[in-house]
């Protein structure tokens, strides 16, 4: 199953869930109607209309649905504000990207390596300082606003391998689309909870803290009202109970999937198994202290709550069973940290397609590699980071220096163009940025071209720490640099798109509206344009052959001809990408396959090709690991 299939599956699953929840809501509505009918307006019963009274039902159902809807929407809206909000509500504090505390540094490095390998922007990292148990979670609606959080216990107790396994598990939640599912679940659950809370408030307000029976019977309404409150309370919580049941069943499945993806990624089942085993051995286990844990239990790496009696409400499979799947030999005793043979369920070798990416080019492997956690990618991104001049990743982690770094990447290597660019900035370039720019000049000169975009994505967390005013200044400087050489090259284009997509929403700039859905067959001219542009990127000589190779992947492109080079300007490509962003997942895979076939036609990948492919994948929301250069 590749990225697209998993996304599709997550969507279907979430549709099925909505149906199950709709049933639960219908049950709640019916129950409330009967409560109202019997307790609040019993007089209607004598009218001979029987139990069912349509106008009353309409009114009750409308109000109930409104309350559930308002509760769900407000909770969803709160959760949709990004993973950072969730992390904070659970007591997390952000780990500064430039932290020098050794354990925090190690965590940040593990996260950075994995984000680069998965091809998603480096997520924010949070630490739950007051939690001695070992646990972690990923939250956020999309990879863009995702955050990864670990507890103090996980930071202190786990080895690097184990931490890597845990973070790999969380990353696969991000890539499998589980977070959107989680947010939807949490929103719906909250709507049902509101009904129960309403009952609680009725009891509080009208019960006045006394027992319902002790109050003087005022025209008989107060005891009935209180009874109604009790009914609402019970109905709400029964609804929540069924909601939790659904949630737990889905969540347990996704946990196994995330475990196996994490192992595919790190190629080390023992790391993850070791982490699970430490949870079993630790007195604090994976339990969380915060009161908010109940609501968010399904976000976590391991069960945050202790449920000895209500196993079926657990959002996670039992530790022993998870370990047994990872490490059959060592599962018997939770506390034994014995190394064991690698189970053949997780072949230690990277999947064939990914090897193809690193060695012999194979076009079909590109869509397979999208959004996939693969060991070869992790190794490659670790190597990429290690090969950089150390000043550059360090700069990428400081807000001020990261700004200078991105501006420095935009400076042309030709001295005369560079002069012109710097002249365009003169006066508006703050002294401090100029100083950093000068410090980075030498390391930047030796930077290989294919490392430029990964470096930018490494800088995203630090750039998110700018204040809105600083961000405006920064983006103006960048625009002026790009404009100064009077032509936009592919790198500048890819960079601009990357920043606009992953950074602008942080600063309250409206993210581009989602593209209207289109069918693959309706985008013929856009696809021809895109494949032509990719074909020209590989060099003029091979362009016709490259285009033919790409077009062969799509039946309706049989008679298509390569567009002239002039027709493939970046402005046209930009428009095409905006439209193609509306394609459904399966069509995206087809498109990505065709794009990859175009690139691999001449059996080598140029930097221009990989940058354009990255821009395409980014527009299509497919996290793409760095390609071998």
């Amino acid at each position: 199953m590749d990225f697209f299939a998993r996304q599709e599956e997550a969507r279907q699953r979430s549709r099925r869930l909505v149906i199950l929840f709709a049933l639960a809501v219908a049950g709640v509505v019916a129950s409330i109607y009967f409560a109202v009918r019997l307790l609040l307006v019993p007089s209607l019963g004598t009218a001979g209309a029987g139990l069912f009274h349509p106008p009353l039902f309409t009114v009750t159902a409308t109000i109930t649905l409104l309350v559930i809807g308002a509760g769900s929407l407000s909770k969803s809206a709160e959760l949709a504000r990004g993973g950072a909000v969730i992390a904070r509500s659970l007591g997390g504090r952000p780990v500064q990207p430039n932290s020098s505390e050794p354990r925090e540094r190690r965590l940040l490095n593990v996260v950075e390596e994995m984000a680069l390998a998965a091809g998603i922007p480096v997520p924010g990292v949070y630490l739950l300082e007051d939690e001695p148990g070992i646990n972690a979670f990923a939250a956020g609606l999309t990879p863009d606003d995702a955050v990864v959080a670990v507890t103090r216990g996980a930071l202190d107790e786990l080895s690097r391998d184990e931490l890597q396994g845990v973070i790999g598990h969380e990353f696969s939640h991000i890539l499998n689309g589980d977070m959107r599912l989680n947010v939807r679940l949490a929103g719906l659950l909250y709507g049902l909870l509101v009904i129960g809370l309403a009952g609680y408030w009725i009891l509080r307000i009208f019960g006045g803290g006394r027992l319902p029976g002790s109050r003087r019977n005022q025209r008989g309404s107060v005891p009935l009202l209180l009874l109604f409150g009790v009914a609402l309370y019970v109905i709400g919580y029964v609804g929540v109970f069924f909601g939790r049941l659904i949630q737990a069943a889905v969540s347990r499945q996704r946990e196994y999937l995330a475990d196996s993806s994490a192992v595919q990624f790190t190629r080390n089942p023992l790391g993850l198994a070791g982490a699970l085993r430490k949870i079993g051995a630790l007195a604090a286990g994976s339990r969380l202290r915060t009161a908010a844990a109940e609501e968010a239990s399904h976000f976590f790496f391991a069960d945050g709550l202790e449920r000895k009696l209500f196993r079926f409400l657990s959002t996670h499979p039992p530790l022993a069973r998870r370990i047994a799947r990872l490490d059959p030999a060592g599962a018997a005793d939770l506390a034994v940290a014995a190394a064991a043979t690698v189970p053949d369920r997780f072949p230690p070798g990277a999947p064939a397609g990914v090897v193809g990416l690193a060695g012999a080019p194979a076009a079909r492997s590109v869509p397979a590699a999208a959004g996939r956690l693969a060991a070869a990618n992790l190794a490659r991104s670790t190597a990429l980071l290690a090969a950089l001049p150390p000043a550059l990743p360090a700069a990428a982690r400081e807000p001020l220096a990261a700004q200078a770094l991105v501006l420095g990447l935009l400076l042309d290597r030709r001295p005369e163009v560079r002069e012109r660019q710097l002249a365009a900035l003169s006066g508006s370039l703050p002294e401090a940025v100029r100083g950093e720019l000068a410090r980075l000049e030498t390391p930047l000169a030796t930077l290989p071209a294919h490392a430029r975009l990964p470096l930018v994505s490494l800088a995203l967390p630090a750039l998110r720490r700018l204040s809105p005013a600083q961000y405006d200044q920064f983006s103006q400087l960048g625009e002026r640099l790009i404009a100064a050489d009077e032509q936009i090259d592919l790198f500048e284009y890819a960079l601009q798109r990357l920043l606009a997509r992953h950074l602008a929403p942080t600063f309250g700039k409206r993210p581009p509206a989602p593209a209207p859905p289109v069918a693959l067959a309706d985008t013929r001219s856009e696809i021809i344009l895109l494949l032509s542009a990719l074909a020209w990127c590989g060099g003029a000589a091979g362009a016709p052959a490259a285009f033919a190779a790409g077009a062969a992947e799509l039946r309706f492109l049989r008679e298509a001809a390569l567009l002239s080079r002039e027709a493939c300007g970046l402005a046209a490509v930009d428009r095409a990408l905006d439209r193609l962003a509306g394609l459904p997942p399966s069509a995206r895979r087809t498109l990505l396959t065709a794009a990859a076939a175009t690139i691999f036609a001449d059996r080598e990948i140029t930097v221009a090709e990989s940058e354009l492919l990255r821009a395409i994948a980014d527009a299509l929301d497919c996290p793409l690991p760095p390609l071998a250069a």
Binding site: V67, R88, N98, S99, A198, P399
Partner: protein, 196 residues
């Protein structure tokens, strides 16, 4: 029926107030986070200063008082910074940090001014590197301070605008303080002194 409508209205009203509350919490978290970035840079600066003093010690034997003053100011600033980091919403702690930082910048400025008269020191490679790193760190402090002050302003504005101002006091959202270094002249002076 009227009762159910009343309850529905109450729920919506509560949701609205909760929205205001959440917004204020969001703004407050943002400036607290922004302070963490200042804190990272200040810590680096406090770590650099003992190295600096160590490497000038051999040259500036007769300036013991100046060196001690620098170390003393550095220790005080470090205490003030950890107090401010514990709760950046505490205006007094921020004020304390501002004056401690001003004192530190002043004593560092004096140290660099004196160092001008030691030619050997001016040529020392180690010294040059430290000086460069210190300048860069001060730039980063200034930059992070700007981001922090922006966030504080947004928070203060956010709690003073109309519907929020009704609840801000009730929920305990006190106005936050800008981090302004008391004598900007001193702040500007430190990076200016050079050994070349």
């Amino acid at each position: 029926m009227a009762l159910i409508v009343t309850i529905a209205i109450l729920v919506l009203l509560a949701a609205w107030i909760a929205g205001i509350y959440n917004r204020l919490v969001g703004l407050r978290n943002r400036f607290k986070n922004a302070f963490a970035q200042i804190d990272v840079q200040l810590k680096r600066r406090y770590d650099l200063i003992p190295n600096l003093v160590e490497s000038v010690k051999g040259y500036m034997k007769f300036e013991r008082e100046t060196l001690e003053a620098v170390i003393e100011a550095r220790n005080q600033a470090r205490t003030a910074a950890s107090r401010a980091a514990a709760d950046p919403a505490d205006g007094e702690a921020i004020q304390g940090l501002a004056s401690a930082e001003a004192a530190l910048s002043g004593s560092l400025g004096r140290l660099f001014a004196l160092a001008e008269s030691y030619p050997d020191l001016k040529a020392n490679q180690n010294m040059l590197q430290l000086q460069e790193e210190l300048t860069s760190t001060e730039n980063k402090v200034a930059f992070a301070r700007q981001a922090y002050n922006d966030a504080v302003m947004r928070y203060n504005t956010g709690r003073e605008v109309f519907p929020a101002v009704l609840f801000a006091g009730m929920f305990g959202f006190a106005p936050a303080r800008l981090l302004e270094l008391e004598s900007p002249a001193v702040e500007r002076q430190a990076p200016q002194v050079s050994f070349t």
